[in-house]
Symmetry: C2
Subunit: 481 residues, 2 copies
Amino acid sequence: MASPEPVERPAATCLTAARRPDDIIKIMLATDNHIGYLERDPVRGQDAMDTFEEILKLAVKYDVDFILLAGDLFHENRPSREVLFRTMALLREHTLSDKPVQVELLSNPDDGKADGFSFPAINYEDPNLNVGIPVFSIHGNHDDPQGAGHEGALCALDLLSVAGLINYIGKIDLASDQKDPNSDSGGIKVKPVLLQKGNTRLALYGMGNIKDQRMHYELRTNRVRIVKHGPQEYVPEGMFDDSINLVVWGHEHDCRIEPEEVPGKPYFITQPGSSVATSLSDGESIPKQVAFLEIQGKEFQMTPIPLRTVRPFVMEELILSEEAEEHGFSLTDKMEINKFLRSRRENVGEEDEEDDTAPPKEMLPLVRLKVDTTGVPEMSNPIRFGQEFQGRVANPKDLLVFTRQKKSAQKAVKIDKPELSIDDPDLSTQNKLARVRFAQLVEEYLGAQELQLLGENGMGDAIQMYVDKDDSTAIKEYVSA
Amino acid sequence: MASPEPVERPAATCLTAARRPDDIIKIMLATDNHIGYLERDPVRGQDAMDTFEEILKLAVKYDVDFILLAGDLFHENRPSREVLFRTMALLREHTLSDKPVQVELLSNPDDGKADGFSFPAINYEDPNLNVGIPVFSIHGNHDDPQGAGHEGALCALDLLSVAGLINYIGKIDLASDQKDPNSDSGGIKVKPVLLQKGNTRLALYGMGNIKDQRMHYELRTNRVRIVKHGPQEYVPEGMFDDSINLVVWGHEHDCRIEPEEVPGKPYFITQPGSSVATSLSDGESIPKQVAFLEIQGKEFQMTPIPLRTVRPFVMEELILSEEAEEHGFSLTDKMEINKFLRSRRENVGEEDEEDDTAPPKEMLPLVRLKVDTTGVPEMSNPIRFGQEFQGRVANPKDLLVFTRQKKSAQKAVKIDKPELSIDDPDLSTQNKLARVRFAQLVEEYLGAQELQLLGENGMGDAIQMYVDKDDSTAIKEYVSA
């Protein structure tokens, strides 16, 4: 298929030079597919899987050189047998083929291979497999390596990888680390996958969630303390050194896929966001997209692609006391309140009806009606309220939620916290101090490390960010062209 | 590698005709690998895995056309991530290659394929995979399909199958069955895999454990009752019709791999036995073997191959009162008894020292000392006794077991019951009656079924056997040349 028309953009995110198809690395970019989310839900059970399949089909349609996933492919750390089975089947169906892979691997295909086995870590380098579209993925915080079996800590991606269905990158090399903590070869290794197509070269730095790894540091240095999660915000954008061109963030579910410039820095950041809503928060109601990324020489261009299989999600917030005043009903009259809420629910989402990119009508929408009940003496049962909409919304059980204004504005934010969030705005002074000391430790520790791309300070900052923010920012991919 | 020298055998189990290599189907036959058994045990944790690898290597060494496994590849129904990972890695390492597969598939490669996907059920028919040695396997009672997800009941073998690493045969087709219990297409389907090499044709009938299937029958017909397991014995050998040449039994762990003639019938039975001991019973102490099976025309020849990685296992039984009399110690003197037992333990297995097929000396042996303590007032703690042998035997915790003679000889058998056994010699009259009625039901039910190889009576008998014996005989493979 022909590449889409270029769109007007800041220079560095457009291919300004003449297109030389043989030099253009084409990537399908997606993340946080959360396959298996609510898999037992009779309505929503296949949502994440269906959208993952859509993404694979888009990759075929756009004839990409590879697919890049930035973590949380699976929602559960130990996906069910059904989820693993179907994910493997989808990958085999859509990514194995006799289509020649045009990106040449320049780095060692054995980097990260299974210990004691001869097959390579990169599936398309295995002469026994016909890989048409390689998939590269890091793990997220949901599907990170756990346990300490004979093979070391493994994650669900390891199963896909050993089956030759994905290329699992950005795993933490605990092995060399554990053998000798003082060895120069220990610590965090960020080794790139080096790819070339025509005259375009790409260094792909994957970095999965490192919570466990940090725990190891802390255990080893007798600095084990419970580090609370930091406030939810994006990582300062100056933490990467100048050789980075594009940073792909995983973990955060809001779609901010259009590359954003970083003031004073030559690189851009894109946050594709999840391909399925795992909470009914504002951020998740932003339309879900993946991106078709083209790289030619030092330029890249990103074309967002709206996903068609995503269940529609509309939300509305209202303050009941204000509505009562405006519409003239009493805050003590439960029946009147219910009648009003019912009318509001009926209207929610109506304006989307004409949108021709909307999913098929038979797909029940997710609806969240968030009602501030401050000043209302008694409310009906929200679950019973939702039952009236059974068969008309996908989430009758949590359609309606009540909130009450808290004394502190900061605490009120918690109400909005998505289910997925592992962040916590509350943090004690003691913990903050602990983190400061830990940052110094990391700085010293990293002095001796092999850090091929990021400078020592950059990595020190990065580690500090992990400590400050726990997992919320630890999941990312660096793309350096 | 050249085929091994023929061994003298009853005519029908030898290739008497001149060898025509292009017509000889070569099979590595093994079963009940129980990968994952005791995987957390620091000494024995990798035993089952190591022996499975040995079997794969033997298959490569003997240049077989395929590997045939008769169930219980995995010990746990939900094998750990580590076990799945390593099993997949071993299969990928040893069975994928560019060696051409010389057995042509005559039956439909899509029989049993994943619903809604295009890749075939038989891995070497997938043009995207280079399969050198196909593996065919049924499930056992340990790794049978469970759950009822979007994909129907799945088992661990489905994961290996969807990854293209094994060919899972003999699964129960519940789907068509559940849709319409009165439909002719329902019931048990035993569809063969049809293979040809040169002038030799082979029909491979796989039949996995069907406990769940039986439960469905019973539920549907309101005849749900707890059917106790029947007494442990081999299935009557007359239950197969005349088109069967060789029956491969799984489930039973004793190695009886030399084909046994069935009086009045033209077929043979082989029971390879497990490749790892999962109980310390008499049967498990028989040396573990797999078989190299050659089929040419209507003849076959089986060459047992002792496994080298199997942990040595020696057991001894003694009656303490007799020993006390012979060696002149008192049954009330705990120290004397311990001293005697210690001396007996030291001797157990010594006679194997000179056996040059024995595994490496550094492999700690399994030892079971079974002591009849009838008449002895008080015994020491057998676990404490075993601790003395820590580092010298693989199973210090259950080295020593005490038994006492029961009033009924039948009950005494229970002492010997292997851990794996799902059989129970006790069965109430009520349950026996229930089984009789159920057998009639099955006979009627099967009248309408599609049964391509076994006659209706044969299958009726077979089902009756399942009912009588629960799982102990439900796992088998039919090989019909």
